[in-house]
Symmetry: C2
Subunit: 610 residues, 2 copies
């Protein structure tokens, strides 16, 4: 029985141990499987990424080519068009055409950038990804090597534990058997001892004492022997148990170390650089995308700047400059005295004086009425224009709502299109706008008629006023009729008739100087003075063209003998003042730099800035 129980115990212990070791081994196998799975998943991920970027690169290239083709189609159209030749000079490039050119530029820029993106995907991102794949495979192999070494160590310590445990079991079994033998001997001795008491009694009866004494000695000897054996086995068992316990501690320490540190280290070996390299690859992708965005943004900013600079006024002046001959005011109609008629002014002597005076007063009152009426029209016109401007500059161009990605994109998008570009709204707005437009044009015609009449009557009125003033003065000396303005026209210095005429700007300086008695023509003196005062800090002075309208205005003033630049107020565009000076010099019969001095090249070059 007891031997059977002992056997069972041994088996149980070994069984328990083996189950535990088997579990660990299973875990170790599973751990390798785990790592292999992870490495496979990574290789799959990297392959997917490579394939993704390869296809995305293709898409970029297609996109780039489409944009390039698009830009080229319109660029070649522009290059071949006549207008382009006309606009070639920067100064004549209309602001709207400039926008169109910049939109094309932006398209080319996007095309180039997406081609660069393709290049970076193919030659950088994908190359990196394939390298990471190689790294993952290599590192997994190497880490598995390390893992195998670790596992061998575990197997080694568990085997050692098994051995020392078996040894302990063996010695303990032996120790137990020695103990039981010793106990048996002691029991025999005891039996012998109680027997010997009996024997002593029997001894008196029988003659076999020496035989019994030797048997007692034999038992004692056996007992001693068994005792020695017992101690020996017990020591062996103790040592074996100690070894077992020490190895147990060592094994547990090694197993704990493996699970707490070494497995983690093995995974670290597998991971070595994976995240860092992947991060660098993705950062390359991000850097490319961000750079594309920056470049795109720069281009858009250029366009936005051009849109900000969309300027009807400057375009109008460019148009008028380009067609200078067409918009240049013609010569004034001169008074042409008939057949040696020596009178060249309105005659206000009797008998026409009374009639002229009456006519003057009629004109005056008519003008006053007309001006009031026309001012009313002008006010309506201004208000209408303001309404139109408000319609035309309504800020309805923000479409950022359409790019919202949060929540339900669709609903927001439809709301946006509802607001801005729904057909009903657009039709309404346009009908409204055109109605206002029609009203504006009607009012504008009315205003034009009024102002034309006013300008005619005003001219006659002014001429009559000055004539009657002079006539009065010439006739009456000191007294003037109260209908005339207190300040007589005479304060405006009378100039020689020749100065008043168109020839000022297409003339001969020498003749002018002789005729006028001025050493420097007023126009030159005044323009230079004005430019000195306000223009020296002006960028592009003499290069940037002024307003054709203002140039004409100033020029006409000079031709009338006035000096429009005399008021110490910077209320004329400096470029227009410079333009007047250039116009004057350009119009000289004998240019400042005689043509003989200019070679053909130089001549062309100065032509750019003239």
């Amino acid at each position: 029985m007891s031997s059977q129980t002992r056997f069972k115990k041994d088996k149980e212990i070994i069984g328990e141990y083996e189950t535990q070791v088997k579990e660990i081994r299973n875990q170790l196998v599973e751990q390798f499987k785990c790592l292999e799975q992870q490495s496979d998943a990574r290789i799959q991920l990297l392959q997917d990424l490579q394939e993704f970027f390869r296809r995305k690169a293709e898409i970029q290239l297609e996109y780039s080519r489409s944009l390039e083709k698009l830009a080229e189609r319109f660029s070649s159209k522009i290059r071949s068009s006549r207008e382009h030749q006309q606009f070639k000079k920067d100064q004549h490039l209309l602001s709207s055409v400039n926008c169109w050119y910049l939109v094309l530029n932006q398209t080319r820029r996007e095309s180039r950038d997406h081609a660069t993106l393709n290049d970076i995907y193919i030659n950088n991102v994908i190359v990196r990804l394939s390298q990471i794949s190689e790294d993952v495979i290599r590192l997994f192999k190497k880490s598995k090597d390390i893992g195998i070494q670790m596992h061998e160590e575990l197997v080694k310590v568990t085997n050692e534990l098994y051995t020392v445990m078996k040894t302990y079991h063996m010695y303990h079994t032996e120790s137990l058997s020695a103990e039981s033998k010793l106990k048996e001997a002691e029991k025999q001795e005891e039996k012998q001892f109680s027997k010997s008491g009996e024997l002593n009694v029997n001894l008196l009866r029988h003659e076999d004492r020496p035989q019994r004494r030797s048997s007692v000695r034999k038992i004692e000897k056996m007992k001693e022997k068994r005792q020695a054996k017992y101690y020996e086995n017990k020591l062996k068992c103790t040592k074996a148990r100690n070894d077992y316990l020490l190895n147990l501690a060592a094994t547990n320490a090694v197993v704990a170390k493996y699970y707490i540190h070494d497995v983690s280290d093995m995974i670290d070996c597998c991971d070595l650089g994976y995240h860092a390299s992947l991060a660098r690859t993705l950062r390359t992708y991000l850097s490319a995308e961000y750079s594309l965005e920056t470049s795109r943004h720069e281009g858009l900013d250029v366009i936005e700047n051009a849109v900000d600079n969309l300027d009807p006024r400057s375009d109008k002046h460019k148009l008028m400059d380009m067609h200078n001959q067409v918009f240049c005011p013609p010569m004034r109609f001169e008074y042409l005295p008939h057949m040696g008629d020596e009178v060249c002014q309105v005659s206000a002597q009797q008998p026409v004086q009374t009639e002229l005076l009456m006519r003057y007063h009629q004109l005056q009152s008519r003008l006053a009425t007309l001006k009031i009426e026309n001012e009313e029209v002008r006010k309506t016109l201004d208000a209408t224009m303001q309404t139109l401007q408000d319609m035309l500059t309504v800020e309805d161009f923000d479409v950022s709502d359409a790019f919202q990605h949060s929540r339900s994109t669709e609903s927001i998008k439809s709301v946006a299109s509802e607001t801005y570009m729904s057909k009903v709204n657009v039709a309404k707005r346009r009908a409204n706008q055109q109605e206002t437009e029609v009203f504006y044009f009607t009012k504008f015609k009315e205003y034009l008629n009024g102002s034309n009449l006013i300008i005619k009557l005003q001219a006659k009125h002014d001429l009559l006023k000055s004539t009657l003033g002079e006539g009065e003065r010439a006739e009456c000396g000191t007294t003037r009729p109260p209908t005339l303005p207190p300040k007589p026209q005479k304060l405006r210095k009378p100039r020689p008739r020749s100065v008043y005429n168109h020839k000022l700007f297409n003339g001969n300086m020498e003749t002018f100087i002789k005729d006028s008695g001025q050493p420097i023509p007023l126009v030159v003196e005044s323009c230079i003075r004005y430019i000195n005062l306000y223009g020296l800090q002006q960028q592009g002075i003499f290069r940037v063209p002024g307003s054709q309208v203002e140039v004409n205005d100033i020029k006409n003033s000079f031709e009338r003998g006035e000096d429009p630049l005399i008021d110490d107020q910077n209320d004329h565009d400096i470029n227009s003042a410079a333009g007047v000076l250039k116009l004057y010099f350009r119009g000289l019969e004998n240019p400042l730099f005689p043509k003989e001095l200019l070679g053909p090249d130089l001549h062309r070059q100065t032509g750019v800035f003239s």
Copy 2:
């Protein structure tokens, strides 16, 4: 002769006038041509822009579709893969896989945004452009109407001027003829007068005086008549001249007004809203492009954030959490006493004590040497790892140079590819990296061997130390051998053996409480204390999984009867501490919330967080 000269003069004046008027008329015609040209150019520009945006919209749509297809291809692959099912729970999504998902998201986002761009081009930008075209045509017509009215006004004033000039010429001619007739009469009178002197002399000779007297009277009468006629004609001429001069002034004023203001106004009418509408259209385009960019940037930022969060450590813990069973430390090997052996500790009594002591000292000196040696290996290992890390985290991902558009793009681009990804450089770097890697693995194996040996010897050493210490104390009472450390192990509270074992985490609380005499298990008390101290502000406490390694570490400490959370330093991850507590409660034989109380739904739900 004189009549002929007079005729010539008339013709000359009329000719000069007509030339001037013809020139003006030519200018007016040319001005219309100019405006028509400008309007045609605008319509052409708008048509080009429409065509451009129509084609660009197509390109956007193609691009959007390609991206969509690309994203869908990989998304469906992911959806069908087993891993995805595994990663579905957020907490198990590896950081690298997360990056990949976000790259796909970004692709989808780009696809959507470019589709939106297409939509805005087609349904907003192009619609606006065609409206501007209509406006340009309509406004040109209306402005031409205005211009025709202006030109009619000019024709009218010049015709008037012509009429009054002709009248002046006529009256002046008449005045001149009257004057010459008067002069003739005066001359006749004078002749008659000198004749009459002669006559007086002759009178004495002849008897024809009364006849002569009547002739004188006749001449005087004629002279008077002619004088009256002369005055009459002179007055007419003066009036006509005055009219001419007044009309001249008016004409010049009207012409000047036309050239200085009206032409400009007419062009303004043509331009009405053109620039504003074009600006709004282009701003719509810009708004769309800028919004696309913003959206794109947001998406890239999300990816960048994910790249920043690429973390090998957390991925490792996720892997180990996912395969909890595989990486969970096994039960410790227990000491299994053989066949009722009642000794369960290392026996340090004589006669083995001396031997153990000797062994202890040997272990001690061996450990000291090993530790020094292994520390050296570790230092080399750390240095090698640092070198590797430096190689792996080199910041070589900036490709923005490739997107420079200034000057010679090509040369800069080639330089960039030279620096980063030239084949020679890449090969060199990779060879270098792998060499370092090989060295690292060699050293790592060496270090592993060393540390395994150390851990084994240390475990034996520690067990011997405590055994000998206890043995000594048990034997010698007060004196301890000088080789032992001054602080005996006894200071560590001895706990019942059952507390030391693995069953702590897979046990029965009631039994534990009975066995240990603690009302609340140390692990519960300590974890709650630690979480109270450091975890109450922690987002996701009890939801975010801790590090499996650290959880195991803490758990093992508790199983050894230590309290790893006792030091008042927050040097354990709070989520790991929470994890230990969860692990403890999860491991209870009788769950805190008995299974009967949980419905199937609730059970599943708590399962998500367990």
